[in-house]
């Protein structure tokens, strides 16, 4: 009985400390608020069933992100992801109804991030949101650390380029 309670306490702590990060990670993977909620919930339900496998609490976040990515991959098999062909749609009009409007630079970064190719976006998310090192990202994505370095480097370059373009465009709009 006490073992069950201990497991439940561990699970509660994981949910309360990491569900926010997992949700944000899920949101940037699938691009949909409600879907991200489902992803995170399913991730934690799977984590509950496999909680005995988690030996190192320091590895909990990476473990959960692995589960979440698998869940997302399953989802990807069933549904066309919303980030596909993102250049063909008006990002501002596609803004999730649940999401509040972003202001200024934050809004530009948000849109730029949504336009970023997933192969660049995902390692960047793992680094910025997950706090993982390049080696850890490499293990998770099953690529070399050098490839991770290249991808996060290009991700930042592309983001900055998009933001520079958007800023110039915004300035033109303001002048006209």
């Amino acid at each position: 009985m006490s073992a069950v309670s201990s497991k439940q306490r561990q699970f509660d702590a994981l949910v309360r400390s990491l569900s926010g990060d997992l949700f944000r990670y899920g949101y940037w993977l699938c691009g949909d608020h409600a879907l991200a909620h489902d992803l995170v919930q399913e991730t934690f339900l799977r984590a509950w069933r496999a909680l005995d496998d988690l030996r190192d609490t320091a590895a909990a976040k990476a473990w959960l992100i692995t589960i979440l990515r698998r869940e997302h991959a399953r989802l990807y098999e069933r549904k066309t992801p919303q980030f596909a062909d993102v250049d063909d749609i008006d990002i501002a009009d596609e803004r999730d109804a649940h999401m509040p409007e972003f202001a200024g630079e934050e809004n530009l970064i948000h849109n730029a991030m949504r336009k970023l190719d997933p192969k660049y976006r995902e390692p960047l998310l793992m680094q910025v949101l997950g706090g993982f090192s390049c080696e850890e990202i490499a293990r998770e994505l099953k690529i070399t650390p050098a490839a991770v370095m290249t991808q996060v480097f290009r991700a930042r370059q592309k983001l900055k380029a998009m933001l520079d373009g958007s800023t110039q465009e915004a300035a033109i709009h303001e002048l006209s």
Partner: protein, 238 residues
């Protein structure tokens, strides 16, 4: 580390704390400025990535987990009940098989002991009662042996039988005619202090039990005559 390497590292990981990186930042004011700008960009990016969370996110996950657990418990309970039922069926089947597996002589003696009061009956029953009992088992008995003091249709384990008692001078003999199974061998046996004999006869088996086997031959003969004539009559009707 030179400026190019520093700027490259800045785009890979601005939080880098490697000694070379930190040293170059301290030595190069232009790269230090670049680091500051990169820091501001990282902060803006971090802020943009930190999309608002759904209200009660953790609570909704915990609720889903608790609900799932509850469903699992119910499934286990239902599964447990089904398992218990299955176990009961297996047990019952096992007991049934055990009953089935008991040798005829054991079943016969057990049955006789359960109806021990029949052994004390000495008043002869009427021929019509005997015919009636056999008729219940689908046997038309034309010739009824004499001196039957008890007759009743009884189940003996897996067998259908006509249970009779035939008093003799030195004690009663229980006669069981198992009406639908004649696979038992003709044999004499002793069981729980009783002498016995089983005889395949017509479509069934005659079993005799008594303290003394000396009357078995005579009883076997009278019943063979009676049952053979009954079988002949049945065949003639067919």
């Amino acid at each position: 580390m030179n400026c190019l390497e520093f700027r490259r590292q800045l785009n890979i990981d601005p939080q880098c704390s490697e000694a070379d990186f930190v040293r170059h930042r301290q030595e190069c004011p232009r790269c230090a400025d670049a680091l500051e700008r990169a820091g501001a960009f990282e902060a803006s990016m971090r802020q943009a990535l930190a999309v608002p969370l759904p209200s009660q996110l953790a609570e909704s996950i915990l609720l889903a987990q608790a609900t799932q657990q509850q469903h699992q418990r119910q499934r286990y309970q239902r599964g447990g009940a089904l398992l218990a039922m299955a176990a009961a069926v297996v047990l019952a089947f096992g007991i049934g098989m055990r009953v089935q597996a008991e040798p005829l002589q054991v079943l016969a003696v057990d049955h006789m002991n359960h109806e021990a009061e029949a052994l004390g009956m000495t008043k002869p029953v009427s021929d019509s009662d005997v015919r009636k009992a056999f008729a219940e088992r689908g046997i038309v008995l034309n010739k009824v042996p004499a001196d039957i003091s008890f007759v009743y249709c009884c189940p003996v384990g897996r067998y259908k039988s006509v249970h009779m008692v035939m008093p003799q001078n030195d004690g009663p003999v229980t006669v069981l005619y198992l009406t639908d199974d004649n696979r038992e061998a003709h044999k004499d046996f002793t069981q729980s202090g009783w002498s016995g004999r089983s005889v395949p006869m017509a479509h069934g088996t005659l079993v005799m039990l008594g303290h003394d086997a000396s009357h078995f031959d005579q009883i076997e003969n009278v019943w063979r005559t009676a049952l053979q004539s009954a079988a002949a009559a049945s065949n003639a009707r067919i």
